[in-house]
């Protein structure tokens, strides 16, 4: 408990200097490792070129969205049909960022397209969107024309995705507010038109004849400019492999962003 300063023995000072050097070295190594770990997520994002995720309605352009999202999941919590999920570490820099797997559960605007946007605290889901028609998540595209039942002139009987699929959809004729399980909703269609029939956006998709022959019952789905990319057609497509899916376009890094 003495407080007087004692001169240190030379060898002790040497040991101390060595320890300090090692400590500094350790710190540099550990610090670099932590920074590299954070950069690894970026490498994954840049190099893997995985197909871009379908983001919730109102999401600003992908690169800005990754930056603007605070990864809190409030959008997940308010979604009445649980369409939104949070990404995990496997998404690299997108860890904790919300996305939608339309094939499993598409956004059908059960809430009229503002709940997740209103919940977003950072504007990553842009508040400039307040109608479902203003949303632009992507664009539906007939990716496998040969798989499309309508193009083969075929109909569809039974639930769109079988009796065990867990997705829900708003059927306005049944309940204006509460989405119903699609497994409990059987169809009996002479010609499959599920992508058109259940599309929540008016005039976003139509079935058009494939030939000029009036006897030809084959039709092809044509996506119009008003398509918002919600993915209901992707979810409802009874064909396996699916014929229609939402494609997400990203414009790359823009510092101005599409925000506001």
């Amino acid at each position: 408990m003495t407080v007087e300063q004692k001169p240190e023995a030379p060898e002790k000072r040497l040991v101390k200097g060595g320890e300090e050097r090692r400590r500094l070295l350790r710190s540099v190594v550990v610090g670099s490792a932590v920074v590299c770990a954070s950069l690894a997520g970026l490498l994954d994002h840049r190099l893997a070129h995985a197909a871009p995720r379908l983001r919730p309605p109102g999401a600003i352009d992908e690169e800005d969205f990754l930056a603007a999202c605070i990864k809190c999941g409030q959008c997940v919590q308010v979604c009445p049909i649980r369409a939104i999920e949070l990404a995990d570490l496997t998404d690299g820099i997108g860890n904790g960022v919300p996305y939608i797997v339309a094939r499993d559960q598409a956004c059908d605007f059960s809430c009229d397209a503002t709940q997740c946007i209103l919940a977003c605290p950072t504007g990553a889901l842009s508040h400039s969107v307040d109608k479902k028609e203003q949303v632009k998540m992507g664009v539906a595209k007939l990716v496998d024309a040969d798989a499309c039942l309508a193009r083969k002139g075929k109909g569809w009987k039974g639930p769109a995705r079988g009796t065990s699929h867990h997705a829900v959809l708003r059927y306005p004729d049944i309940d204006r507010w509460k989405a119903q399980p699609i497994a409990g909703h059987a169809y009996d269609l002479d010609l499959c038109d599920l992508c058109v029939r259940e599309c929540p956006i008016e005039g976003a998709i139509a079935l058009e004849p494939v030939s000029n022959d009036p006897a030809d019952r084959r039709r092809t789905p044509v996506v119009k400019a008003s398509c918002v990319g919600c993915g209901v057609c992707e979810m409802m497509c009874p064909s396996d492999p699916l014929a229609i899916r939402v494609e997400v376009k990203t414009t790359g890094r823009t510092y101005g962003g599409t925000h506001g």
């Binding site: 407080v3 954070s38 930056a67 605070i70 990864k71 809190c72 409030q74 904790g96 605290p121 950072t122």
Partner: protein, 334 residues
Amino acid sequence: MTPGFLSRTLAGLAQMFGRAPAKPGPDDMTPAMRDLLAFKKTPDERKRRKEAIKAEREDHSTSNKWRWRRWASIVALNGLFVASYWLDLQLVEGALTASRVVGFHFADLNSSLQLMLAHKHVVINLVIGVTTVALLYVLVGGRTFCSWVCPYHLVSELAEMLHLRLAEKRLVKDHALDRRLRVVLFVIFAVLAFVSGYTLFETISPVGILSRALVYGTVVSLIWVALLLLVEIFWARRFWCRYVCPIGLTYGMAGTVAPVRILHVAENCLHEGKCRDVCLVPHVLEMTKLGFGRETETPVGPDCTRCAMCLDVCPTGALRFDIKGLTRRSEAAE
């Protein structure tokens, strides 16, 4: 120079940024402290303290009062997040990065900083959230977040217990790092966010990861948390909280002049150092060494997380919670 509010604040910040504490000369002490130190150095007083320490060491009763309170706080607050979602209580919606607390916006200061630097846009809801949280921690002490809210703190504390047990058996050794590392990393992550346009730190933030894993079940990210805990158990005690976490530093800066703090009362102190042994940030308790105090009553600096482990181990009540302006002080230090 005798300590005043400004010099104490600046010294506290410098200490948080990694400066090694310096021993004060007689001129750096208040007259009352000089007198107290002179008294403490008298042979009779030394003998009394020695006996008091000996008696105290024979009494093996330990208190975990504050630890239990703190653990209850961490479990309750994080449990509220989980229950709000899964039981639809809607009290605290979101995760620790940002939430609505009964409808009011709350936003984590470091997550928001990363976001603003990366995105370069700010919306009003985020400003409201940041202001609310900043005000809260300006009052209760910034790093109070760390030990009373952060879920990583709890698991890290358990890892520390294991580390200490293994260290006692000489199976592991604590490798201290340079405390300036945290400042360097804070700057690097801020610059990286600004330059890259991505919130890089958020990808590896164990606070966000744990909070989201609890609420949303994103468990793959827990691999990273497990890795950090392994480092803490086998290599460097409280490695993340002590030397890395920029969140801790952000909150520490926010609460630099917080009125809620731990106060060291030199008169009661036996200077045996039990508090420094348990402390997450022992440099803030430098004044508990004999001859290192500048004032008879010293508020503990901004790096202190108010975890109150020191209160649990202090046998004489020389360390206690203090609220500036509410608790009477014998020496006017302000």
